[in-house]
């Protein structure tokens, strides 16, 4: 077993084994048996219950054990009934420990709100939750395994009720042969599915620290984006943002997810919010740079998409120019936006205004044949035949089929990502 994991599990197992043995001793004591008290077992001091070898095994094997509590049944008024009660007290104590873990986790799950700059402050609480979660699962396992009706486990004591006429010792001797199947069950892992089923059910109802839920949603959001499930990514990011909206990068991530889902207004709002967040706030330079870059890309992409849509109709060419202008404002090095704004202006017949955009597009991406073809057409329209011829020649040298229209309002946008 991983040593870190073992150390994380150790408190839970120590608590579980101690509570288990204490419960046996305590119930026996309540029923009138003073023997466990004489042996100093009616105590919550783990050292009274743990054994050196059993504890060592916890660290190096997937199990451990404590010193069993000896009960003097002669002191019980009803030995059989008393024995069953004493035996069941152990697993019940483990169930109580699970309940206490749940309660503590429930009471503290919202207590570590994210700090003003998106940092979750309490590592201690996160570790405590991990320990409590581990303790709950270990105690479930202790309760379930101990309730198996196989000697020497506590659940086997139920047989004594079902075997009238037989003494406890005689029934115990008869059941002792079942120790072998128990060992086989444990070693072969045949018990694993049943234990996993119960632990999964319990794990599902254990309260989770906001910080952990937040991190889970962010992780799931990133995974959903990778799987191109943008709606799911949007949902996960939204849930994470509901817990803490202090990380501007998370707004950018949701903006991206929403852009990919076609929710352009929402995407724009998220990106704008992310940019607003970093204004005048002491974020690290690399975080600031990344937010600025990615948010700007998203704003650009939204406007570019809208500009492209507006190019569909001559009536909305003005709006297209406006959107491409906003895209250029968000991302001044967007050759695609310059190219498309030039195309829109060409269709409006505003050739002189289109020329600087065509120049800028070529300046940013000098190896794009389409850009030269577009500028050739603009020069031709402005009566600069020589420049038009030069641009055509350049476009041809870059592989353009010059007979096809040099520019098209339906040209593909640049990479949106």
């Amino acid at each position: 077993m991983n040593l870190n994991l073992a150390l994380l599990m150790l408190p839970g197992l120590a608590i579980g084994l101690t509570a288990h043995e204490f419960a046996h001793a305590w119930v026996a004591s309540l029923l009138g048996d003073g023997y466990p008290r004489r042996n100093k077992r009616v105590t919550l001091n783990p050292l009274r219950h743990m054994t050196p070898l059993g504890t060592l095994m916890i660290l190096f094997a997937p199990f451990g054990w404590a010193r069993p509590v000896e009960v003097n049944l002669h002191n019980l008024k009803h030995p059989k009934r008393g024995f069953v009660l004493v035996s069941l007290a152990g697993p019940m104590a483990n169930v109580v420990v699970v309940g206490v873990c749940w309660l503590l986790m429930h009471l503290t799950q919202h207590s570590s709100a994210a700090g003003p700059w998106g940092h979750w402050p309490s590592n201690t609480l996160a570790i405590l939750h991990a320990v409590l979660f581990g303790a709950a699962l270990l105690n479930v396992i202790l309760a379930v395994v101990n309730l198996l009706p196989i000697p020497p486990l506590d659940g086997s004591k139920m047989w004594l009720v079902l075997m009238p006429g037989k003494s406890i010792t005689a029934a115990g001797k008869k059941g002792a042969v079942l120790i072998i199947p128990l060992i086989i069950l444990m070693v072969s892992g045949a018990l694993r599915p049943a234990i996993d089923y119960v632990t999964d059910k319990v794990a599902a109802v254990m309260p989770v620290l906001d910080r952990v839920r937040y991190e889970q949603h962010v992780k799931l959001g990133v995974e959903a984006m990778g799987a191109k499930d943008h709606a799911a990514a949007d949902a996960h990011y939204t849930m994470a943002l509901e817990m803490s909206g202090h990380d501007p990068m998370l707004w950018v991530l949701r903006s991206t997810a929403r852009f990919q889902s076609g929710e352009l207004d929402a995407s724009l709002a998220d990106a704008a919010h992310a940019l607003e967040m970093i204004q005048g706030r002491p974020f690290a330079a690399d975080v600031r740079a990344r937010v600025e870059r990615d948010a700007s890309v998203n704003i650009h992409n939204v406007h570019f998409s809208r500009g492209m849509a507006a190019l569909d109709s001559d009536a909305t060419l003005g709006a297209a120019v406006e959107h491409f202008t906003k895209a250029i404002h968000a991302l001044p090095a967007s050759n695609g936006a310059f190219f498309m704004r030039a195309a829109a202006r060409c269709r409006q017949g505003r050739w002189a205004e289109a020329l600087p955009d065509a120049d800028r597009a070529i300046e940013i991406a000098p190896e794009n044949a389409e850009y030269y073809a577009q500028r050739a057409e603009i020069h031709a329209a402005l009566g600069n035949a020589q420049r038009a011829a030069a641009d055509r020649a350049k476009a041809r040298s870059l592989g353009a089929d010059i007979d096809t229209p040099a520019q098209s309002p339906t040209a593909q946008p640049p990479d949106r990502g």
Partner: protein
């Protein structure tokens, strides 16, 4: 402190396991292995096992001396108790009483070995009254170990039978029967069946008692004898008494004291 204790206990474990296996196989090396484990771990129960394994039944004096040495070096209730039993076997009652005192002073005694030694010592005194008083005082305690409780209950059952308190004896026997099937309880319930004329009950428990006739000969003879005396069957009782004197003279002598004054109330 606890870490050192645990490390010692862990280091002693292999020798304990090997010693127990050797003991099961009746190998002479068992005593040595258990003694090593005792010296490393200092666990009283291991010390007792080691002394028992080292003991030569024909010469218990040597094992008793070992127990004395060990008690001086590392006093443990269990070692003191087995030392006391060996002292009794050597006929050294004063030394046995000393062992009892040391055993009590040694502290933790989870198995109640000192209580057992005290019972044995009291049983060997000529005054049956002091033994009865001890059993009575033990019966009032709620913290006895199971083996001491079992002995005390058996003694109380026998006393009830001899005093003609069949209902009390039956109540104790039935309580004991829920926990374990003993030859004493079987004889008591047989006697109760005979006393009431309940043939089915008598037959059932006669068979149960007979099953232990060989494996637990002395106890079977002893409890059978008491049951026959309680039912007034002198001939059968005399035959059993003779057999008991042959099988375990000390137990027979002890029983004589009890039979001499059967009427005292107990428990």
């Amino acid at each position: 402190m606890i870490l050192i204790h645990w490390l010692r206990a862990l280091a002693a474990l292999p020798f304990l396991w090997l010693g127990k296996i050797a003991l099961m196989l009746k190998q002479p090396v068992a005593g040595r292995l258990l003694a090593i484990s005792w010296h490393i771990g200092g666990v009283g129960q291991t010390g007792r096992l080691a002394i028992q394994a080292l003991n030569d039944p024909n010469d218990p004096f040597l094992a008793m001396s070992t127990a004395q040495t060990w008690m001086q070096r590392c006093p443990r209730a269990e070692v003191g108790a087995i030392g006391g039993v060996l002292a009794m076997q050597c006929g050294e009652m004063d030394i046995a009483a000393e062992f009892l005192r040391d055993s009590r002073a040694a502290g933790d005694d989870p198995k109640g070995m000192a209580d057992l030694l005290e019972m044995q010592l009291a049983a060997h005194t000529p005054d049956a009254g002091s033994y009865r008083a001890l059993v009575r005082s033990l019966s009032e305690r709620r913290d006895l170990s199971p083996n001491v409780s079992r002995l005390v209950i058996a003694e109380l059952m026998m006393a009830d039978l001899l005093a003609g308190r069949f209902e009390d004896a039956e109540r104790r026997a039935r309580h004991l029967e829920q926990i374990e099937e003993t030859v004493e309880a079987a004889h008591v319930l047989w006697a109760v069946g005979e006393h009431r004329g309940d043939e089915r009950l008598a037959r059932h428990y006669a068979a149960r008692a007979a099953a232990s006739a060989d494996s637990e000969r002395a106890r079977w003879l002893c409890s059978g004898l008491v049951a026959h005396v309680a039912l007034g069957r002198r001939e059968e009782a005399d035959a059993l008494h003779a057999a008991l004197r042959e099988a375990d003279p000390a137990l027979a002598a002890q029983l004589d004291g009890l039979l001499a004054s059967p009427g005292e109330a107990q428990g």
